[in-house]
């Protein structure tokens, strides 16, 4: 199985967590590696913006001498967007349903991020 297909499997695993509506893996500099979007918009733009967001958050906290953020969580009325690093090269980002329980999603994402880091 190619790396790309294995990443697809990781995303498919995330998709089984009922509350995750879309998920994607990209490089830290915003290039798409794989996405499971269920036709919810353009994955290239989605990951480019997510990578910028995570990178900007890291710059902002390290500017104040704090450690890099573990994740960026964006809350909207329609759902939550969560973006976290997956090793030094990649990141994983998901969009959840509005009433999603954050705990379960974060546990699953952390697991996925560890897998991704080991795959690439």
């Amino acid at each position: 199985m190619s790396t790309s297909e294995m990443l697809g499997k990781v995303l498919a695993g995330l998709g089984k967590v009922g509350e995750i509506e879309a998920s994607a893996i990209s490089t830290r500099d915003g290039l798409l590696m794989n996405a499971d979007m269920h036709a919810a918009g353009d994955p290239e733009t989605f990951v480019a913006m997510s990578a910028t967001m995570l990178g900007a958050a890291e710059t902002a906290t390290s500017e104040l001498g704090k450690s890099v953020p573990n994740r960026v969580i964006v809350e909207t009325d329609d759902g939550k967007l969560i973006c976290m690093g997956a090793g030094p090269k990649a990141l994983v980002v998901v969009m959840t349903a509005p009433d999603a329980g954050l705990g379960l999603v974060l546990v699953e994402m952390t697991k996925a991020a560890e897998k991704i880091e080991r795959l690439i």
């Binding site: 790396t3 830290r28 590696m33 794989n34 480019a48 990178g55 710059t59």
Partner: protein, 390 residues
């Protein structure tokens, strides 16, 4: 010559496939290879050639639907698009096609039908096989290889070009090698790459016996509608504050989004371009120094760079050069865009070259991003340079 209609490929093949010759798209599993044959036949028939599509693994009506998903309306080709139905029998369905293979599991039956089509075609045309691998699965590997020779001879006799889609499933080493080296006059490999982290699909010429072999490979992407495009995953647009970077990205892109406040980009512009067989994703950076960390973050893995300059604002030229350093663009193809050429006090590209002290081989192109003037010329110049690097 019959053009393949695949961007870049006709250039590599010196115009396409000559009449009477054959070509195989040798695809590695997991890569979308079928589209190559589909695009080739549609390109040929829409240019007035006769095209025959040998359907071995899909129902003919579904095939027409698949074509139309890509925006290729086969019903508009006035009967120049012919389907040989080598599928319906397998599922026990009736066929509406003029040419039906009575037993697709018997290679002789297939050969008979293909010969009949070749004889009855009113002029030299192109015959595309949906899947040579399916034919091998149904009829056997050595039987199919033998038949290929017979088809090639016949095609030569009638001046038809033959094109096969072939997926390199785990057949015997011998068969794979034979397909890769002997069976056709030209072999195009279609595969996937796993670079450092970027994933892409490429095609390249492995063999061609009517032209010099160009050992180049081209990244591609399949668009629906649209088909195969030579693809550049990241082109960076950078430059000093207020040089017109966002305007440039929007003028260039079929669709684009920007993260800006009060007209200034604070995160990035992101756009898709799809033009003349080339597709690219465009990343526009902010220009103000306080956003330099974002510029660094975004510039990784770019394959080409536009440096936008406001031709009237010489004070910012140094900053422009500095931004090329920040983006670590050393060694990458760069096109400098001398923007705002419509303003009276704008410097000419040559004056800008002197101001910047740029060597003569760096292209500096005039443009007015606000009206779109010169934007596509700059794009085509950069794409040309990025593709050369392969």
């Amino acid at each position: 010559m019959i053009e393949t209609g695949i961007p870049k490929l006709d250039g590599y093949l010196h115009g396409g496939v000559p009449e009477g010759r054959s070509l195989v798209y040798y695809t590695y599993p997991g890569v979308a290879g079928d589209v190559f044959g589909m695009q080739t036949i549609c390109h040929a028939t829409s240019n007035g050639r006769l095209g025959v599509y040998v359907a071995s693994s899909t129902d003919p009506q579904m095939i027409r639907d698949q074509f139309s998903e890509f925006g290729w309306a086969t019903e508009n080709y006035d009967g120049r698009f012919i389907v040989v139905d080598a599928f319906s029998w397998l599922i026990g369905a009736d066929s509406q096609e003029r040419y039906v293979v009575s037993d697709p599991e018997d290679i002789n039956s297939l050969t008979q039908c293909i010969k009949k089509v070749m004889e009855e075609m009113s002029e030299p045309g192109i015959i595309v096989f949906e899947s040579l691998s399916t034919i091998m699965d149904l009829c056997g590997e050595s039987e199919t290889l033998d038949a290929l020779e017979e088809w090639s001879q016949y095609a030569m006799l009638y001046d038809h070009a033959l094109v096969y889609n072939f997926t390199a499933w785990p057949y015997s080493e011998e068969t794979l090698l034979h397909v890769k080296e002997n069976v056709c006059n030209s072999v195009i490999s279609v595969g996937g790459i796993t670079g450092d982290v970027v994933f892409g699909q490429y095609f390249g010429v492995l063999k061609v016996d009517w032209a010099d072999l160009a050992r180049k490979s081209t990244l591609f992407k399949v668009l629906k509608p649209g088909g195969i495009r030579a693809y550049i995953p990241k082109i960076l647009v950078t430059g000093p504050f207020d040089a017109g970077k966002s305007t440039f990205v929007h003028a260039l892109s079929n669709r684009a989004v920007s993260v800006d406040r009060l007209g200034t980009t604070i995160a990035l512009d992101h756009g898709h371009v799809d033009r003349k067989g080339f597709a690219a994703d465009i990343f526009g950076t902010p220009g103000q120094e306080r956003f330099d960390p974002i510029v660094k973050l975004l510039s990784g893995e770019a394959m080409g760079i536009f440096l936008l300059l406001d031709s009237t604002n010489t004070a910012d030229f140094e900053r422009g050069k500095r931004m090329l350093e920040i983006t670590k663009s050393f060694g990458l193809p760069v096109v400098i865009v001398a923007n705002k050429q419509d303003l009276a006090e704008a410097l000419t590209p040559e004056e800008i070259r002197r101001e910047l002290d740029m060597p003569a081989d760096v292209r500096i192109m005039p443009a007015v991003a606000a009206t779109g003037e010169g934007v596509f010329e700059a794009f085509e110049t950069l794409v040309e340079r990025v593709m050369e690097v392969d």
